[in-house]
């Protein structure tokens, strides 16, 4: 929800600036939660594309939010397709090695907080997208279905499965700690 509707009165530039301030952290978080290489650059691209269509957006703040995340979702799909065509080559890092075991500090930090994003990343792609669009982007069921080009029923099903997966992961983490 965009916080103050009165802040969006005025010129188009004022409304776009207010929309950026409200939505940019959420767009960045959405792109980060899906492992985009350069999420800040992708966020800027999303808002540049949004600005081109900003004056023709219908539906007020909800329309702006839905379009912003539709663009972000399209960028995410493009990113994953590009990743599939040409796998990224990265230097070896010990932390990325599956044989790597968390240190005691990492486990404590994960238990205290800061592990919600990593827990989200363990979900499947569709479940992760639905949960991130609902929680991080703040979209409704219908808006999420519109962004992902799916039916509301399928979104609701993915959402329920995703939440159950998260609860299972959370219970497992609690037992481990």
């Amino acid at each position: 929800m965009l916080p103050d509707p009165s802040a969006h009165r005025g010129t188009s530039t004022d409304r776009f600036t207010a929309a950026y301030r409200e939505l940019a952290p959420r767009v960045l978080g959405y792109l980060r939660s899906h492992g985009v290489d350069d999420p800040e650059a992708a966020t800027n691209d999303v808002f540049l594309a949004l600005h081109r269509r900003f004056d023709s957006i219908e539906g007020g703040d909800d329309g702006v939010r839905t379009l912003a995340f539709s663009i972000a979702h399209a960028r995410l799909v493009d990113f994953h397709r590009a990743q599939a065509r040409s796998p990224r080559r990265v230097p070896f890092e010990a932390a990325d090695d599956p044989r790597h075991a968390d240190s005691a500090e990492d486990m404590v930090i994960s238990a205290v907080g800061g592990g919600a994003m990593s827990m989200l990343s363990r979900l499947g792609d569709d479940q992760r997208q639905v949960i991130s669009l609902r929680v991080i982007a703040g979209l409704s069921l219908e808006e999420t279905a519109q962004v992902m080009d799916r039916s509301v029923g399928s979104i609701k099903q993915l959402q329920r499965r995703g939440l159950e997966s998260l609860r299972s992961l959370l219970a497992r983490e609690t037992i481990d700690v």
Binding site: N44, I136, L163
Partner: protein, 203 residues
Amino acid sequence: MSELIDVLLAESELPDDGLLRDLLEELEREATAVAPMPSAALSELMSPRRTTPSHAHTRGARRRPSFAGRGAVITGVVVIAALGLGAGAAAASPDARSAIGAGVAVIAHLFQPAAAAANAPDSGSDPAVGATESPDPSESPEPTESPEPSESPEPTPSITPSPSDDGSDGHGKSGETHGNGKGNQSGHGNGKGQGNGGPAPTP
């Protein structure tokens, strides 16, 4: 946003799961904690300088001249049109043409006496006055006594040439000069000429 999380849990039939709610709230805080820096292009789009003249920077507004410039152009066109209409109306009106003709004659008359005096030094400065008044009887013998106008086969001007002038030459010259002058100035000359036609000097 916690309201949305409550709705989300209720939709998934998990309304009382506190751990899951805490996890989702933490996820939202963690994901939205970092505000990205806008790029240069995006900063330009959000610059306050674009706020005020956003509509004045359109191409049409830039090409359109200022109101003062347009006013000057319109005024110039109106003045030129009015001058053209005035000139056309003056040329089309007979009164205006006669007035202009009279003005031209007056201007020409200012230069004419000197030329007339050079050609006929004995005649008066005013041809009309000379025609009505014949101060010198020798110039016009018997100006008032013309018992037989028919004796003069042709009317002669009221002002007779000086004796020193050659008959034919002087008659023709003065006739041309003063006849034109009287005709232009008044109608007295013609009447008097007809009356005095008899005593036309003959060599």
